[in-house]
């Protein structure tokens, strides 16, 4: 089922191929949907909702009171767990909030950077079994801490056979979502990007979705901002001979169960651990409800790599830049400074990956597919915009004038020079060349 092999570069190339990408047909379909919604607004959204979801929707949003009412059906244990998780997520993300600042000079000049929450943000939440209340918390809480003016959720309308997922509504209520529109798919993304008669235009769209939603987000990118388009889940575990093989295997399965394209990799310098983890995977897999998905994931993208040393394992982890990285080693903090690229790092035996997915506080929306080289987790920063501001006194500008003129002239931009010089009624030399 799972392969044990030597660590090597070919592994990384294989993993990089996993990215789900839209074919021309999907792109064309989604482009058409976006264009129709852009031109015809609500009418088009309603038509597509009838066509794809089989539901007539009036597009009247649920307000806070309606969201609260729908969350009353949530299992009280789930509701309480969501509240405790939200508390941790809030505590962590509140520490990311930056203040506007300015710096003053005795001559009366000042400049600074203003930081503000985005005016309005749209949060996409998939329907059916892909609706994860935890993702609602992870996307909505940082937005609210950032000071986003209005946080709008869109989600496909429930079909005849069921209501709206009450745990999703509970998460939306707890996290402070302001309104929920019952529409989904590419048409919902288009509505958020361009606005319709009822759905207001937003400044940024976040949240996971299927290939149509992901493609729509790519296509409206620039018109609005988007979060990253997430690839399949990944876990990479560094395990020395102190690692508990059963725990390592359980952690690998927690990612493998997500998706046949998910990847779970264990790196170890211990042949004993490698073999024991392989055996544990086999054993634990049998008992899993999502065994079929997890088995496919492990067969295609699961690996146990035997390394000459843990140093080699660290090098491999840095090259792979995984979404989740667990350190099941002695003195795990010794590894932190050497792990260059990862979305989230789980240190030691009592930090299984799901602790980060649900509970500890850091965000679970993380860079995938090696992009942890340059991308960061979703954060409060993802929901703010910055504006620089500059004020100079007359004396300060007079002091700076000559340098500005010199630099502008060096770049051949004479009107730039002139804009500074004209304040002092000094004829720029180049204006004499008439």
């Amino acid at each position: 089922m799972i392969t044990i092999q030597q660590a090597g570069k070919s592994v990384i190339d294989t993993l990089r191929q996993r990215q789900q990408s839209a074919d021309g047909q999907v792109t064309q379909t989604v482009s058409d949907i976006i264009e129709q919604v852009r031109q015809r607004g609500d009418g088009a959204v309603r038509e597509y909702t009838r066509q794809f979801d089989g539901v007539d929707t009036d597009l009247i949003p649920l307000n806070r009171a309606a969201i609260q009412k729908l969350s009353a059906d949530c299992d009280p244990a789930v509701y309480a767990a969501l509240e405790r998780a939200a508390g941790n997520i809030r505590d962590f993300h509140a520490r990311q909030l930056q203040q506007s600042w300015l710096t003053t000079r005795p001559d009366g000049s000042f400049c600074g950077q203003r930081i503000r929450g985005l005016f309005r943000v749209g949060l996409y939440v998939p329907g059916g079994t892909a609706a994860y209340p935890s993702s609602v918390l992870m996307c909505a809480i940082p937005a609210k801490i950032a000071g986003v003016g209005e946080l709008i959720m869109v989600t496909p309308p429930p079909k005849d056979d069921g209501g709206i997922n009450p745990a999703v509504m509970a998460a939306a209520y707890i996290a402070g979502v302001d309104r929920v529109y019952l529409c989904g798919g590419a048409q919902a993304i288009a509505a958020l990007a361009y606005g319709t008669e009822t759905v207001p235009r937003v400044d940024k769209i976040v949240g996971p979705g299927n290939i149509y939603v992901a493609t729509a987000k790519r296509l409206v990118y620039g018109q609005v901002d988007i979060d990253m388009v997430a690839g399949p889940s990944e876990i990479l575990i560094l395990a020395d001979d102190s690692a508990n093989p059963a725990w390592a295997a359980a952690d690998m399965l927690s990612q493998a169960e997500h998706d046949p394209l998910a990847s779970a990799i264990l790196l170890t310098d211990s042949k004993t651990v490698a073999k024991a983890v392989a055996a544990e995977l086999e054993k634990q897999l049998a008992a899993l409800p999502r065994a079929e998905i997890a088995a496919r994931s492990l067969a295609d993208y699961g690996l146990i790599l035997l390394c000459a040393s843990m140093d080699e394992a660290v090098d491999f982890a840095n090259a792979l830049a995984p979404e989740h990285l667990e350190v099941l080693c002695r003195e795990p903090m010794n590894y932190l400074g050497r792990l260059d690229n990862a979305g989230s790092i789980f240190l030691g035996p009592y930090a299984p990956e799901p602790l980060g997915d649900y509970y500890a506080g850091p965000n679970h929306v993380l860079p995938t597919g090696g992009t942890a080289r340059f991308y960061s987790p979703l954060s409060v920063e993802s929901f703010v915009k910055k504006t620089a501001f500059i004020s100079y006194s007359c004396a300060a500008l007079e002091g700076a004038k000559e340098d500005i003129v010199t630099l502008a002239q060096a770049e051949g931009l004479d009107a730039h020079a002139r804009a500074a010089a004209i304040r002092f009624n000094v004829q720029c030399t180049m204006y004499n060349v008439q």
Copy 2:
């Protein structure tokens, strides 16, 4: 030449159409170049350099000593001005640097966020007259403050009729660029994104370029990070009846001279100011070396909009979300809190836009085309990546376990629940359903 009219929504639509976009032919050409460089490395880069730049390049990088040597030809006044500008830019951007942090709990748990400079960044600098030393400072200084490991510059090789622009080399030296490769165009972007035998792969590419460079950046986005793809320059001036019309006109021209697609708009509630600015534009334009470009820009995208009140002007500015926003009004600070969307705001009569382009300290790489609604200026933040980390004690995980299991089960992700539960040898209830 310039139109005076009432402010209205149609103006915004017209401005939005300006974005320079690649046609299918450009995209195809650039795709081919990227693929060739990806497959054949240096050989392809050299071939394209011969073809497009008419130059044989050995791709041997200039190191710090070589960069310093080439900057010796820089006019001393320019060099000194660059050094003073760099000092201001460094001072401003140093204030953006964030620290890694962690939060600890008495039970031994901790979590936090590590912030690190990107490992390697590529800076594109156009050749010929489009090579702006100020842009080298604006891109390179924040990268170095962020702690970027290696900062690589690429720029087209000089043709027979001239050497490398010494002011660009001076800026590169002052800002701390580590190496310069003499190659340009889409082939240089491809080399940075994928790496060749001589050009190392980078994690992010920044800097302006022509349509081929911009298209190449778009196409490699995801493989590496990029800065925003900049649109034509924009200035919007709020002027009440205290504004000096000659100064306002000079500031408008400083943007209009950039590009025929540039946009300069003045909003005022004073008919007197409107007429006087129009007259000043006419007068000052005649004396400008780049008069032809500026005149086309003003004719196509220049406007003087007469508003019923300065409140209306503010609303319009917020809807337009300009790159540069000048407040030539009494008590300019009273406007700051009402100006929601702008890349950089210039307050009062002594902060002409070129002060920000060259000197004051804030970055001049700013969101254009209305994207100031959700994008921020280039900053130290643009050159870091964040990684979350989590460590829990046994007791802490035991306390969290039930909530994690509850939430994982609510999402139908049983292996997630199991990963937490297995640490305590407790059989998850769902595992009894075999």
